[in-house]
């Protein structure tokens, strides 16, 4: 069992948990993720490790309540525990001194971008960050991102805070102004990553994206998370989660992410019908 040490509401339906997992906290590197299973009947869900404190033995995860499992997870309190936590998984981000690195996070995608921005800064890069959300009160980690970035730009879809538009618009504006970038890291919803990649492709700026397809074992055993990258099938869990965004077949990824939409809806309905307790218990 892995005890939850601290919970925090970051935005509507977005929560941050610190979980006691000293071995993972010691080992994890930016870009890696964990798989967790809340209880015996639970599914295995992958979540990026947003941060870790090796001394306290904790890892930080940030998640949005979008379905039964995340909604149930969000109901847990400090002192309660989750049954299984597996990690660190995936290939860590390739960190080195590139020069100017633009770190882009959209919505919940800001959580995985944060540790990468932090590590890029520590490696001596100039870190320019762009974070965005649908609306102001959904924006997370502004303070943290500001701390690790040399400059931080913000956008909201509805204009309630920062630039009125998308993170890709902010990026385009920076490029229009002639800003030099050595690397772009973009993490967020697939449409956002796709648009960012379309922007950077014209400028031949290498763009790293982190993908979040459906996974089961997340150790390379099942292939549920396969994506086409550069015409080749890759497993996100062991070959990724980060890939060259210019090579990723996003259209296929979107379709694969929607494979269980109906079941996910049904599971959530039943869960809520039972008053937010575990079905069958």
């Amino acid at each position: 069992m892995f005890p939850i040490v601290e919970t925090k509401l970051l935005a509507a339906a977005v929560k941050q948990f610190k979980i006691y997992a000293p071995e993972i906290a010691k080992k994890r590197r930016p870009g890696q993720f964990v798989v967790l299973r809340i209880h015996e009947e639970g599914e295995r869900i992958p979540l990026t490790i947003a941060d870790a404190d090796p001394e306290a033995g904790t890892i930080t995860i940030i998640f949005q309540e979008v379905g039964k499992s995340t909604e149930h997870l969000g109901k847990l309190k400090a002192g309660e525990a989750i049954a299984d936590l597996i990690g660190p998984l995936g290939v860590p981000t390739h960190i080195e001194k590139f020069g100017t690195v633009v770190c882009i996070g959209g919505g919940i995608g800001i959580a995985p971008v944060y540790p990468i921005a932090k590590a890029m800064r520590e490696a001596g890069n100039t870190v320019i960050s762009i974070i965005g959300a649908r609306t102001k009160n959904l924006l997370i980690l502004e303070e943290e991102m500001a701390k690790v970035s040399h400059a931080l730009k913000i956008s909201t879809d509805d204009g309630s805070y920062g630039y009125h538009g998308f993170v890709s618009d902010v990026l385009q504006n920076m490029l229009d102004e002639g800003m030099h970038m050595d690397l772009v890291v973009a993490i967020g919803p697939v449409p956002m990553m796709r648009v960012v990649c379309n922007v950077t492709r014209n400028y031949k700026i290498k763009t790293i994206v982190s993908l979040n397809p459906i996974m089961v074992d997340a150790t390379g055993m099942c292939g549920a998370c396969r994506v086409t990258v550069g015409g080749r099938t890759r497993f996100v869990c062991v070959d990724g989660p980060e890939f060259d965004g210019h090579e990723v077949n996003f259209a296929e990824l979107v379709k694969r992410q929607r494979a269980y939409l109906e079941q996910e809806k049904l599971a959530l309905e039943i869960y809520r019908h039972h008053g937010g307790t575990c079905s069958g218990r």
């Binding site: 009947e41 295995r44 055993m221 079941q263």
Partner: protein, 470 residues
């Protein structure tokens, strides 16, 4: 029944069938297919054994169980004694009695098989093991004094479990590291409930824990610790029994459509995650109505029969050779046929067809004919030009084999692998190119059987014991 039956009479007793669920009924549930022998049938079957002076059946057993010995104990109605006799050599008899290919091993060597049907050794093994488990009796086996040595076992499949049991009895401290959240490896994620109830695997795992084996689930070696870190962290030896878990795909167009599963994914969802109980369990699984399973091995049969139980109207096994070349056990093919699985032999899928939403809606196939034998000795299938046809399906399960997961070799620089990525290990000792590191089971041989992995675990346990005490 206890008095000696004359040899002639023995030959007249037919091989006893196990009572089993009706095919029509069982095709709709996940309960085990055979019920197992009741004691009277076990006694009758046991009485067929000739108790040969030089029993060749033992030679056919990869772990050399004293087969006539345990059968004679059954005959004396000492069922617990029979189970203990088996356990001297085989720590997982309830598993092996169910999934061993006895027809290629012990039963193939049985003298009775020359003229008639061999003794049903597997069924008797299962009977004795089940009897002991039902009694719920736990007898502590003799344990050697603690040696103070520590062994790390990577993977909790048949090889790792066998090795752990052997080494703990020798007085070593044993920790099993399992990547998934449940111990048992392929016995848990791969083989379906209707062929191997998970409670049996659980009982075997708990038995090892009672002996003192520590089992750490959720530990992906190569990620949380490398093999070198295990050796540096106080483990005197490491055994790698990670299995052949990497799924193989056909590399044909349309394979990434929704509704296309690797057999590994399909079976893991159903068996390990219990998706067949969705929504009580959270993991979903697609319920295809017309399902094609590609491949002809035991895993293909398992996947096909699972699809049927998940509500498919039609399930096709699509295999590029003919029925004669099917690598699956005859019993499994027979069970599949009985349940209504249909076979498309001499058929090669060339493309999976999808609809606008990215879901499977069909499969383009090509007819094959058999040509000259290839290097495997089987006649090579050759495509017949112009024979393409479309099969209407809404789900495809790819069960054409598995490969080696590169996670451990890629993080252990001095561990030698062959060109397929399997670990190079001595076939007698399991010793690898790295000092103190042993390997066995599918990660060495490629996909094989539960009993062969157990045999490899047994040999490696002896070698590790010698290494630690030497």
């Amino acid at each position: 029944m206890t008095e000696e039956t004359p040899k002639k009479k023995k030959a007249q007793i037919p091989r006893q069938k196990m009572p089993e669920q009706d095919p029509q009924v069982r095709a709709k549930n996940f309960e085990e297919v055979p019920f197992g022998y009741p004691p009277e049938l076990a006694l009758l079957e046991a009485s067929r054994c000739l108790q040969c002076k030089k029993p060749s059946c033992i030679e056919g057993c990869p772990v050399s169980i004293d087969i006539p010995g345990f059968i004679s104990l059954i005959l004396k109605e000492d069922f617990l004694g029979a189970a203990r006799k088996i356990k001297e050599m085989n720590s997982l008899p309830a598993v092996c009695g169910r999934v061993c290919p006895q027809e290629d091993q012990c039963e193939k060597m049985c003298v009775l098989g020359k003229k008639g049907e061999p003794v049903a050794i597997g069924r008797l093994e299962r009977f004795a093991a089940d009897f002991e488990r039902m009694q719920g009796e736990f007898t502590m086996p003799p344990m050697d004094r603690s040696t103070g040595k520590k062994v790390a076992v990577v993977g909790s499949g048949p090889a790792g479990l066998t090795l752990a049991g052997d080494l703990i009895k020798k007085g070593h401290q044993v920790t099993i590291f399992e990547a998934l959240h449940k111990a048992g490896g392929v016995l848990v994620y791969g083989i379906p409930e209707f062929r191997l109830p998970k409670a049996i695997v659980q009982a075997e795992v708990e038995y090892l824990q009672k002996l003192g084996v520590e089992i750490r689930t959720n530990m992906v070696i190569g990620k949380i610790y490398t093999v070198d870190e295990l050796l540096a962290n106080g483990y005197d030896a490491v055994f790698l029994g990670t299995g052949a878990g990497l799924p193989t795909f056909m590399n044909i167009p349309g394979e990434n459509l929704n509704g296309v599963y690797s057999a590994n994914e399909y079976l893991t969802r159903s068996n390990l995650m219990k998706a067949y109980l969705f929504p009580k369990y959270d993991t979903p699984i697609a319920r295809g109505k017309k399902v094609a399973v590609l491949g002809g091995g035991n895993v293909a049969m398992d996947a096909a029969r699972t699809a049927l139980r998940l509500g498919a109207d039609d399930v096709y096994i699509v295999y590029r050779r003919s029925k004669k070349e099917l690598p699956a056990r005859i019993e499994e093919v027979h069970h599949a046929e009985e349940e209504g699985i249909k076979f498309h032999f001499l058929t090669l899928p060339v493309e999976i067809l999808g609809n606008e939403d990215g879901w499977v809606c069909g499969m383009r196939c090509q007819r094959m004919e058999l040509g000259e034998p290839d290097e495997s000795g089987r006649r090579r299938p050759i495509p017949i030009p112009g024979s393409e046809f479309d099969l209407e399906v809404d789900m495809v399960i790819v069960a054409i084999g598995t490969g080696a997961n590169p996670l451990i070799p890629s993080t252990t620089p001095d561990l030698k692998t062959n060109k397929w990525g399997y670990i190079v290990a001595d076939s007698e000792t399991g010793a690898t190119s790295k000092k103190g590191v042993y390997a066995g089971g599918d990660i060495v041989t490629g996909s094989a059987t539960v009993i062969l992995a157990m045999g490899a675990g047994r040999k490696a346990a002896q070698a590790i014991h010698k290494y630690l005490m030497g």
